[in-house]
């Protein structure tokens, strides 16, 4: 049995558990490789369809290729796509340049999501975060409760045994974050993309000696030096690399505890 089969089975189990235990769920899609893989597995679980809304948190700062990829795939996979934007903040021209990165992420992503979840009374959101992306995310659970302020109570996380992914009994739970890909690594994701032939954004492939390893907003994401122009070359590159996947993402490296602070406020 191959490793990817084991990983996929666990993800399917978690997705089914979430669907069985929550009434109103949605999935976040950033059009990046991880959340696209998540959509692919959800399609497998539900015989080719995604039976809930697919939410894109649009900051307006995404790469043109990402919007193009989004619209193409949404049509092909018959996705119930919901684009969520914090229009007030966009009108006020909140940006990482004019303001700071922390405020920008909080306004355009965290608050946009908060308003949307509040309005549509979601009780669970599926997210494609992985433990190996960041040591703060490594502390997460598969089912992770958030309070009405979207706070992640990381000091008192729920217990998660064996295959018991229980809806938390903690007081004041507003909604749950469900993380079906928590146990995957970056390399697993690429190997799975290859195996399953999942479409990915062309920005991941090298052009003129550069490629994006992780995709975020344009002002806060920088490409890496790379000649990996196809999936096989990316897999080879990752096997030999010693730098971090999110090295090109500004919100991770600015300060030691930036990710913890962002996440405790409801960031992904």
């Amino acid at each position: 049995m191959n490793n990817l089969t084991v990983l996929e089975r666990k993800s399917i189990f978690v997705i089914r558990e979430a669907y069985a235990q929550f009434k109103n769920i949605g999935v976040l899609w950033s059009m990046g490789k991880d959340s696209t893989v998540l959509l692919w597995i959800i399609k497998k679980v539900f015989s080719g369809e995604i039976p809930f809304p697919v939410i894109h948190l649009d900051t307006g700062f995404k790469f043109p290729e990402m919007y193009k990829f989004r619209d193409k795939l949404a049509k092909k996979w018959k996705i119930n796509l919901v684009v969520v934007r914090n229009e007030d903040a966009i009108k006020q021209e909140v940006s990482p340049v004019k303001n700071n990165r922390f405020l920008c992420c909080t306004k355009l992503k965290t608050e946009a999501l908060r308003d949307y979840v509040e309005k549509h009374k979601f009780d669970a959101l599926l997210l494609a975060i992985r433990r190996d992306e960041h040591s703060i995310r490594a502390k997460e659970r598969y089912f992770s409760p958030r309070d009405k302020n979207f706070k992640w109570n990381y000091k008192n996380q729920s217990l998660e045994f064996w295959n018991f992914y229980k809806v938390s009994s903690m007081k004041g739970v507003h909604h749950h974050r469900v993380h079906p890909l928590l146990h995957w690594t970056e390399l697993d994701v690429w190997q799975y993309i290859k195996q399953e032939r999942i479409p990915v954004n062309p920005l991941y492939f090298s052009k003129k000696g550069q490629r994006f390893r992780s995709l975020g907003c344009m002002p806060c994401t920088v490409p890496i030096v790379s000649n990996a122009s196809n999936i096989d070359k990316i897999i080879d590159e990752l096997k030999g690399t010693s730098s971090s996947e999110r090295g090109g993402r500004a919100q991770d490296k600015e300060k030691e505890y930036m990710m913890q602070k962002l996440r405790s406020l409801g960031y992904m």
Binding site: M1, N2, N3, L4, V6, R9, I12, F13, R16, E17, Y19, A20, K44, V45, F46, S47, G48, R131, D132, S135, I136, A138, K139, R141, Y154, K155, Q157, S158, L159, E160, F161, W162, N163, F164, K166, S169, H183, T185, Q191, S242, S243, S244, E245, G247, K253, E256, Y257, Q260
Partner: protein, 394 residues
């Protein structure tokens, strides 16, 4: 690529769990360079590299020098991958510790050789929990050997202490002792020259010799756990997780909770029609000859010739996370079902309670050793807080 091996590192606080994993990550080049830079720059760590900080990343953890919650990190050596699970050693974070251990294939117990450290309260608690959770093998890493001049006498003292404690709790797991120093990198991946008296292998080598691929066992009985049912184009498809054994189309099966019999008509897995589904698979299937409405989440499906027991009482061993009164009402969660129950404590031995449980509904209990693991459960109190966990016996 082989299946990843999950290894939990347990032990008393400050006995070097995070440091051990951090060192392994470092020595195998599994830490991104950015992370090494970040750890080098952090205030607590001016002189040498603090390996534990590769894992302890919360502000509270770094400032307080302890692990608050469980975390995981992958160590790659040649073609093998190990997923190391770090857990907190403080008694108040025991639920985080068990959350970590419950995902492990193997357990490494750290015991510090340092003067005045040795076998402590949480060393004993973690061994008792390992027993309750059904561990068959324990790898004991005797850490900080560099602080006692790599003394063989100190190693033997702790080894004897652990062995006599295991006898006192009747724990017959296979046990292996490896003297290490994570700080110096002794006996983690390669054998060190610092302890010529030690004739065994390095920690990873010892673990490696015991890893077996999770092969299908021929005589495992079929058990399917029904997670949900989906209506696809007017047809009811049951979403099941195959706990053990294998499922074939046209097989006659017993539905143990709703007490029905039926026949497997079609198996759909990975968007394809299949004749067969194996252990571990999350398959979809349709059934004939049954009343669909009676089938609820948590239904257990087995082959007619090898069914679990279906009872409304059981004997169990429980670890309570808090103190509870002698007799009480709880909700027992087992195999996706929640069943109200009454618990009566027969006796308490150290931290484990032997109890009688009577259920409001019938529950499936396994008697075959190959599937005994399915008898584990968690307990919720009336307010749905997690009260404890345990294992049922017939």
């Amino acid at each position: 690529m082989n299946k990843r091996t999950n290894i939990a590192v347990v032990g008393h606080l400050d006995h070097g769990k995070s440091t051990l994993i951090g060192r392994l990550l470092y020595d195998t080049n599994s830490v991104p360079i950015e992370k090494i830079e970040e750890v080098r720059k952090s205030k607590k760590d001016k002189h040498s590299l603090n390996f534990a900080l590769f894992l302890d990343s919360f502000k509270e953890e770094r400032e307080g020098c302890f692990t608050l919650d469980t975390t995981q990190a992958i160590v790659k050596i040649r073609r093998r991958e190990y997923n190391f699970i770090d857990v907190p050693g403080h008694s108040e974070f025991i639920k985080n510790m068990v959350t970590g251990v419950s995902q492990a294939d193997y357990i490494v117990l750290t015991v510090s050789a340092k003067l005045n450290e040795g076998i402590k309260a949480q060393t004993r608690t973690h061994l008792q929990l390992a027993k309750l959770l059904g561990a068959k093998k324990i790898f004991v890493a005797i850490t900080k050997m560099d602080t006692v001049n790599y003394s063989k006498a100190r190693f033997s003292e702790i080894k004897d202490g652990i062995q006599s404690y295991l006898r006192s709790i009747n724990f017959s797991a296979k046990i292996f002792f490896i003297p290490i120093s994570a700080e110096e990198g002794d006996n983690l991946i390669k054998r060190t020259t610092h302890m010529k008296w030690y004739e065994g292998n390095s920690l990873l080598k010892v673990v490696n010799l015991h890893i077996k691929e999770n092969n299908l066992k021929k005589n495992e009985p079929l058990r399917i756990l029904v997670q949900d049912r989906y209506i696809v184009k007017g047809e009811t498809i049951f979403a099941g997780h195959i706990e053990s054994g294998s499922l074939w189309t046209k097989e006659k099966v017993s539905l143990n909770i709703s007490r029905q019999k039926g026949v497997v008509k079609r198996i759909i897995s990975d968007s394809r029609i299949k004749k067969f589904a194996e252990k571990g698979e999350c398959a979809g299937f349709t059934l004939e000859g049954i009343e669909e409405k009676k089938i609820k989440r948590g239904e257990i499906i087995s082959a007619l010739h090898s069914q679990p027991l279906v009872r409304n009482r059981a004997f169990a061993e429980i670890f309570f996370l808090n103190d509870y009164k002698e007799t009480n009402n709880f909700i027992l969660c087992s195999r996706l079902r929640e069943v109200s129950c009454m618990i009566k404590i027969i006796r308490r031995k150290r931290i484990i309670c032997s109890v009688n449980i009577s259920f409001n509904e019938n529950i499936a209990i396994e008697k075959k050793s190959s599937v005994l693991i399915s008898n584990r459960f968690i307990l919720l109190d009336k307010k749905r807080n997690i009260a404890g966990f345990g294992v049922m016996h017939v």
